[in-house]
């Protein structure tokens, strides 16, 4: 095993294509990722609203389970692909150190159910692993069809870089842009790459929540993006699946494809589109872009 993998609830529903494409890409790169046995929900934002301490305990159970997989090593790297899970797990770790009383209770609670906990898991985002462990060189060497001519607006969302900047610049992150460049795509320079998509507010107060997503898409489109690349199931859902509702609310049709960055990587790697969950997109990638990807591929010797 190279990494543990924490799927998160979304991977069984809306975010299924993220998991599919992530696994396909890691397979293609020969990086092994094992699912954390019997993982539970990370707590997300909602749980925090009700009971912070229980939210931390909930997330910490995953951390404790992960330590079991460490095989006697000093620590273990666990990939969390969903931004909310990624933050929820890291936040639990920070809370446990920052608030000793809370830390004590959680550790004791875990031990009482037979889970020893030393706070030694490194939570990693796939972008972090791809860019810092695997590296652009190895990624570029796996590219079959350069995404030449495809203009991608990289959308990082909030919780990868905020509040904890663990692997990228907090104000203007660059990892996804560099990754996209490595697979031959052109990236759009826009100031909204970490502006909030509305999160769960798109469902609960759509008139305002959806406006945030709408603003992002509109600006990306204005700047010439062919596609928006995301790194979070909720962002992807908000930006893509709600475009119909946006048209109804704001009277403007955007029709901008929104994909996971891993799906674009998979396309560049020449992986079959079904393995990447491309068919699950509501707004399909335009045929001319896909064909250009393939054409470009013929000219590239790898």
């Amino acid at each position: 095993m190279d990494y543990l993998y924490y799927p998160g609830c979304s991977s069984k529903g809306n975010g299924i294509a993220y998991e599919e494409s992530l696994k396909a890409v890691f397979d293609a790169l020969d990086v092994r990722m094992d699912e954390l046995p019997d993982w539970n929900c990370c707590g997300a934002t909602s749980y925090m609203s009700v009971d912070e301490w229980k939210a931390v305990a909930l997330a910490a159970r995953n951390l404790g389970l992960a330590e079991r997989q460490a095989d006697g090593k000093d620590g273990v790297d666990m990939i969390a692909a969903c931004s909310a899970c990624y933050l929820g797990l890291i936040r639990a770790q920070r809370y446990i150190t920052d608030y000793p009383e809370l830390g004590k209770q959680v550790t004791a609670g875990l031990e009482a159910v037979g889970i020893s906990f030393k706070n030694r898991v490194r939570i990693r985002h796939p972008l972090d692993v791809l860019m810092n462990d695997i590296g652009t060189e190895r990624i570029a060497s796996r590219v079959k069809h350069k995404l030449a001519g495809m203009k991608v607006a990289c959308y990082y969302g909030c919780q990868i870089v905020r509040p904890y900047a663990t692997f990228d610049d907090q104000q203007s992150p660059v990892m996804m842009d560099r990754l996209m460049a490595a697979i031959g795509a052109e990236t759009v320079n826009w100031p909204l790459k970490t502006r909030c998509c509305g999160g769960s507010l798109s469902g609960t107060v759509p008139e305002t929540g959806l406006r945030l997503s709408f603003i992002l898409l509109k600006e990306a489109k204005k700047r010439g993006a062919d596609v928006v690349a995301t790194a979070c199931p909720l962002c992807q859902f908000n930006l893509e699946c709600n475009q119909g509702e946006m048209r109804r609310l704001f009277g403007e049709s955007l029709d901008l494809p929104v994909v996971y960055f891993t799906q674009l990587m998979g396309l560049a790697f020449g992986l079959p589109s079904r393995a990447l969950g491309i068919q699950r997109l509501f707004i399909p990638l335009p045929a001319h872009l896909l064909s250009r990807v393939q054409e470009g591929g013929r000219n590239v010797r790898v």
Binding site: D169, Q171, S172, P191, I215, E219
Partner: protein
């Protein structure tokens, strides 16, 4: 060896204990009468008294009187920190003809009454400390302060307005001054400004005459493009090594005709001029700005063809002709100076605005820093004083963002003190020169100076907009047609309670002041300390604001903390006066806390020789003992700690004294 016999002629010592109330500062917490009673029970204490303010005249008189009346041979004052009044009471002892070093100060204010919650605890702690001192003082020796002649001359480090003013004051008083500046010209930041607040005097008009006077002054030597590389010695007797960096134009031969610049193979200036913050251009051979002092050009080897390829027609050399002022082989030159005092006036740096990407500096071309705008406004600047955007157009609207890199725990916590006022000044000048709408985005307007609030009022009348709120972001993201192709400032107008988006053509970031990037190295060089945030630390925030903990080294200007020009000049004058007070003495007294080596116990192991940081100990091959060269000893006591036989000792911190103090502080404490 010490021991109380040495200074009491065989009679038992008689200690006087004097306990200060310091108004209510001590007496409000410590039960002073109880402590007095306790002191009376201590061995050898002949008298114990209390008084409201022991440092006042009546207090001092009381001590002197009691020394005589009770025949005291040891003196103990329990009051504030020895850093404040140790000297005062040593003088008292001296005047009552007790050797001043038979005195010990007990700090029951900073270390007791001010830091202890409970009155009873404070009283007990004060007692223990007095008992410790009463034991320690038994082992004090009579000492004479070390006296050294004071050398004339002062090194001033930094040629900004602080260094210039201090140098002039001292030179006028007849003192020899060496003004060391690391840039090619003196003048500092002030030389870059257009106008000064709140009077709107032209900075050049008030600064350049002073710069010229410095150059002409017979008592001032300007060492420009030079840096201090080593400082040794001590108060009154400093040795300062200065490295003169090569400017490839021989200062002594240059007449300042600038024909060499004219004759350079580059017909047009094409390299970014550092002095104009890259907004203007220069040639490889250049003067940073027309009023530079010394008015000597320099060659930048990075851009000079001769340096890069060795194949240049060398127009500069030909133009200089017989004067032969160009020297491509010039090397670093070390100048050694011996002086009595040093003034550190190294100034400040401005905050690097690119650290805050959400303000767009370095991302959007029309986001400027305040200092850059000073250059744009300056008549001798890159645009001749016309404010033009990078696309050559005049701005129609300008946003000035305050507190960039100030009052922010993510960057710098302090208020930089000058930004509000310079922002107001820039607002006024921008409106005057361009007619643009000007918006000031501020958190609080801080205008506490003579004529400052009035200037703010003037700006309000002039129709400059003031929006209270820390700007959240500057971006090129347009949401409405009038925002297209402009910079949009997003801010909560906190007085209205609403988020506003204001499109502008130009953003000015009022960057805060920071210590120089190499402040840490400078402190090591001069053996001074830094306060929080790396500003140089003054000896006392109120009573010794220009002194440092290193005697003979003084501070002037913004290197000690953010300051505007009037404050800087006032402080420079103060530092000059302090140095003059030092150098006008023929002899300086130095604390006799030096080491001494008792040859009888020295085994000649030489451990101390290697440890001494000042090479003040050498090994006498004949006697086979270590010998101290006392004038070199600065009194750290490392040798005393390391000596395995107890031969090396430190005056005022001898083994017996410290052992007695520790024991007294502990034994019998309940």
């Amino acid at each position: 060896m010490s021991g109380f016999n040495s200074s009491t002629n065989g009679h038992p010592p008689r200690i006087g204990v004097f306990i200060c109330h310091c108004g209510t500062n001590i007496a409000g917490k410590v039960n002073v009468p109880e402590v007095v009673e306790f002191a009376r029970t201590l061995p050898f204490v002949a008298v114990a008294k209390e008084y409201k303010y022991m440092c006042s005249d009546p207090g001092q008189e009381m001590i002197k009187h009691d020394i005589q009346q009770y025949g005291l041979t040891r003196l103990l004052v329990a009051a504030c920190s020895p850093h404040i009044h140790e000297e005062t009471f040593r003088k008292v002892a001296s005047e009552a003809s007790i050797n001043p070093f038979l005195f010990q100060m007990v700090n029951i204010r900073e270390l007791v009454s001010w830091v202890t919650e409970d009155g009873h605890e404070a009283t007990e702690k004060a007692k223990a400390m007095i008992r410790a001192a009463a034991k320690r003082v038994l082992f004090h020796d009579e000492l004479e302060p070390k006296k050294y002649p004071v050398k004339p001359g002062v090194v001033v480090v930094g040629g900004g307005i602080a260094g210039i003013h201090a140098a002039l004051v001292m030179a006028d008083a007849g003192e020899r001054v060496y003004l060391v500046e690391r840039e090619p010209s003196i003048g500092g930041h002030m030389a870059m400004f257009d106008k000064t607040f709140p009077t709107l005097d032209c900075a050049a008009c008030i600064l350049t005459p002073k710069m010229t006077t410095v150059r002409r002054h017979p008592n001032i030597t300007v060492l420009s493009y030079s840096e201090v590389v080593e400082v040794s010695g001590f108060v009154g007797n400093f040795k300062v090594k200065v490295k003169k960096k090569p400017r490839y134009v021989v200062e002594e031969k240059c007449v300042g005709c600038y024909e060499c610049i004219e004759a350079c193979v580059f017909k047009e200036p094409r390299f970014p001029n550092e002095f104009d913050l890259g907004l203007g251009k220069r040639k490889p051979i250049y003067v940073p700005f027309p009023q530079a002092v010394p008015p000597v050009p320099m060659i930048d080897p990075e851009t000079c063809i001769q340096f890069r390829t060795g194949k240049c027609p060398k127009g500069c050399v030909n133009a200089c002709g017989d004067r032969d002022g160009i020297d491509f082989d010039q090397k670093d030159e070390i100048v050694e100076l011996e002086v009595g005092g040093i003034i550190v006036a190294t100034g400040f740096d401005t905050f690097d605005a690119s650290r805050l990407p959400y303000y767009g500096y370095g991302i959007y071309p029309n986001v400027y820093t305040g200092l850059e705008v000073e250059r744009l406004l300056n008549a001798s600047g890159p645009t001749g004083g016309e404010v033009l955007l990078r696309n050559g157009q005049k701005p129609q609207s300008v946003g000035i963002i305050h507190c960039v890199g100030s009052r922010d725990e993510n960057t710098n916590r302090w208020c930089s003190r000058v930004c509000c006022m310079y922002s107001l000044k820039l607002a006024h000048l921008m409106k005057e020169r361009t007619g643009a709408e000007v918006y000031n985005f501020y958190i609080d307007i801080r205008a506490p100076g003579k004529g400052y609030e009035e200037f703010y009022d003037r700006l309000l009348q002039e129709g400059v907009h003031f929006i209270r709120g820390k700007v959240a972001e500057v971006s090129d993201w347009a949401m409405t047609p009038d925002e297209e192709n402009r910079l949009v400032i997003r801010v909560e107008d906190t007085l209205i309670g609403m988020v506003r988006r204001i499109p502008v053509d130009m953003v000015i970031l009022s960057v805060g002041l920071e210590p120089q990037r190499d402040a840490q190295e400078v402190t090591k060089l001069f053996n001074i300390s830094c306060s929080t945030g790396n500003w140089f630390m003054e000896r006392h925030p109120k009573l010794a604001p220009v002194s440092t903990m290193s005697a003979g080294i003084y501070l002037a200007g913004a290197c000690q903390g953010p300051k505007d020009i009037p404050d800087t000049v006032a402080q420079a004058g103060a530092a000059a006066a302090e140095v003059l007070a030092l150098t006008h003495k023929s002899v300086i007294e130095v604390e006799p806390n030096t080491a001494f080596i008792d040859e009888r116990y020295c085994s000649g192991c030489q451990i101390c020789v290697g440890l001494c940081p000042y090479s003040a100990i050498y090994y006498d091959e004949e006697k086979k003992v270590a010998v101290l060269n006392e004038p070199l000893c600065l009194g750290c006591g490392v040798c005393a700690a390391a000596c395995p036989s107890g031969a090396a000792q430190q005056h005022l911190f001898q083994d017996e004294q410290l052992y007695a103090e520790i024991e007294g502080a502990l034994v019998g404490v309940g």
